[in-house]
């Protein structure tokens, strides 16, 4: 039972830390935006810790009769099950006493629940990965037929469309794509900054960073805090790419490019209402223009907390 309580405590601590990361109450306002890379790592550690703990709570409570850590108990339980099934298959019926006393239907249901949670987490991630790979292959095939190289955008493919778009098609051989509308919209300096931004996405495989969060949002679409975590990480990924681009170019061209994208025509959102995309663009522009130095203490503290939160459930699984 103690193990279950530990796992539950990890979930609670992760929830509180996630609150701190999104609202930045305790760790001070906005450090995550100034150290996006550290913040992304924290989110990944938190995500993994919550996943491990979510499996751990029902598993530990279900297998409590074994009186050992959940990792070893799972091993013993699987061994016992195998022994029972072998006996069944041999026609001797289910042997009495093969499972420890106290492992009744309620606890077995909890073990099943743990297995189901693990299956959903792993399954949705794999499914999302396969879907993304399929969509990317289709996109790449079409791009090979209609994209063209253009001296105005070195290293990128150009799509002949008047709309403004700039994106990265991730993969082993990533491709940066801009539309003809983007070429019209931006001056050469701004375009260079945007291309650097996209290359940063490609180099750091930001698509894979986002994938588990996207997968979970898809598996559990009604869970609002999952969506909030996804959006927070998505914004941090953009800011990280902004940081890499500003290191190669000045801040101004990137900020100007963002503003041009923001004001390219009227928006889908009704007049007066700011869509999330607008708020995010605004936050990114403000960040580039303010250029406050990255803090040291708070990211370090958050890293320690996140690492501890990840190590705790991991060590619970390993404890004997």
């Amino acid at each position: 039972m103690a193990y279950g309580a530990h796992f539950a405590a990890v979930i609670l601590a992760c929830y509180l830390t996630a609150q701190a990361l999104t609202r930045s109450v305790w760790f001070g306002p906005g450090w995550t935006w100034r150290s996006p890379r550290v913040a992304i790592l924290c989110w990944q550690a938190l995500g993994l810790a919550v996943g491990l703990a979510a499996i751990g709570v029902p598993l530990a409570v279900g297998l409590a009769p074994y009186g050992t850590g959940p990792g070893r108990a799972t091993g013993l339980f699987v061994g016992d099950l195998a022994a029972g099934v072998t006996s069944l298959a041999a026609g001797h019926g289910w042997p009495t006493g093969v499972l420890p006393a106290g492992l009744g239907p309620v606890r077995l249901t909890l073990v099943g629940l743990a297995a189901a949670i693990a299956a959903v987490l792993l399954g949705s991630t794999v499914r999302s990965l396969l879907a993304a790979v399929r969509a990317q292959r289709r996109h790449r095939d079409l791009l090979a037929l209609v994209g063209r190289a253009d001296p105005a955008a070195p290293g990128a493919l150009v799509l002949d469309h008047p709309g403004a778009a700039a994106y990265c098609l991730p993969g082993v051989r990533p491709t940066v794509v801009v539309s003809a509308g983007t070429l019209d919209l931006l001056n050469p300096g701004e375009l260079a900054a945007v291309l650097s931004h996209e290359r940063a996405h490609a180099d750091e495989r930001h698509d894979l960073v986002l994938l588990p969060f996207t997968a979970l949002c898809r598996a559990l679409p009604r869970v609002r805090w999952l969506r909030a975590a996804h959006d927070a990480v998505a914004l941090l990924v953009e800011m990280r790419a902004d940081d890499k681009a500003r290191r190669q170019h000045a801040d101004e061209p990137l900020a100007a490019a963002l503003r041009r994208f923001a004001s390219a025509g009227s928006r889908i959102t009704p007049a007066g209402a700011l869509g999330a995309a607008d708020l995010e663009l605004d936050a990114r522009v403000q960040r580039l223009l303010l250029d406050r130095p990255a803090p040291r203490l708070r990211p370090a503290a958050a890293s320690v907390v996140a690492a501890a939160l990840l190590l705790l459930p991991a060590s619970l699984y390993l404890s004997w």
Binding site: A132, H161, C168, L210
Partner: protein, 126 residues
């Protein structure tokens, strides 16, 4: 770009640059249009076969030969890529990473309309 990718593109350009109302073409027609590349008949056939496999061209039997036509117009493919790029395609996969999303309501409608028109044309043909 690989040689095969390059050829696929050249073949699609031949199909797209023809009058859309004209009859579908045979392998020989395509090979003739690309005669400056000096391609073997079988090479063109292989490329068209690959394109059909990817759903980029549709084909029908005409006597002993296949006749080919593009499955969709160049504009429709560009529209499809733009919908993907602007996250309007309705898929929630993390397939692309975008710089910034910016599209007007009318632009989105135009993009979607380009796809619907194409689907209707395909239906009428089929």
């Amino acid at each position: 770009m690989t040689r095969l990718g390059d050829l696929e593109r050249a073949v699609m350009d031949v199909l797209w640059d023809r009058d859309p109302a004209a009859d579908p073409v045979t392998v020989r027609d395509v090979a003739e249009a690309l005669q400056n590349r000096d391609l073997a008949y079988t090479t063109v056939m292989t490329v068209l076969d690959r394109l059909a496999g990817k759903g980029m061209v549709s084909r029908e039997r005409a006597g002993r030969a296949w006749r080919y036509q593009p499955a969709a117009s160049r504009e429709a493919y560009i529209a499809q890529l733009m919908l993907d790029a602007l996250d309007l395609a309705g898929s929630r996969d993390a397939a692309l990473v975008r710089f910034a999303r910016s599209v007007t309501g009318t632009e989105a409608e135009v993009l979607r309309a380009a796809l619907t028109d194409q689907a209707q044309v395909a239906e009428r043909r089929g």
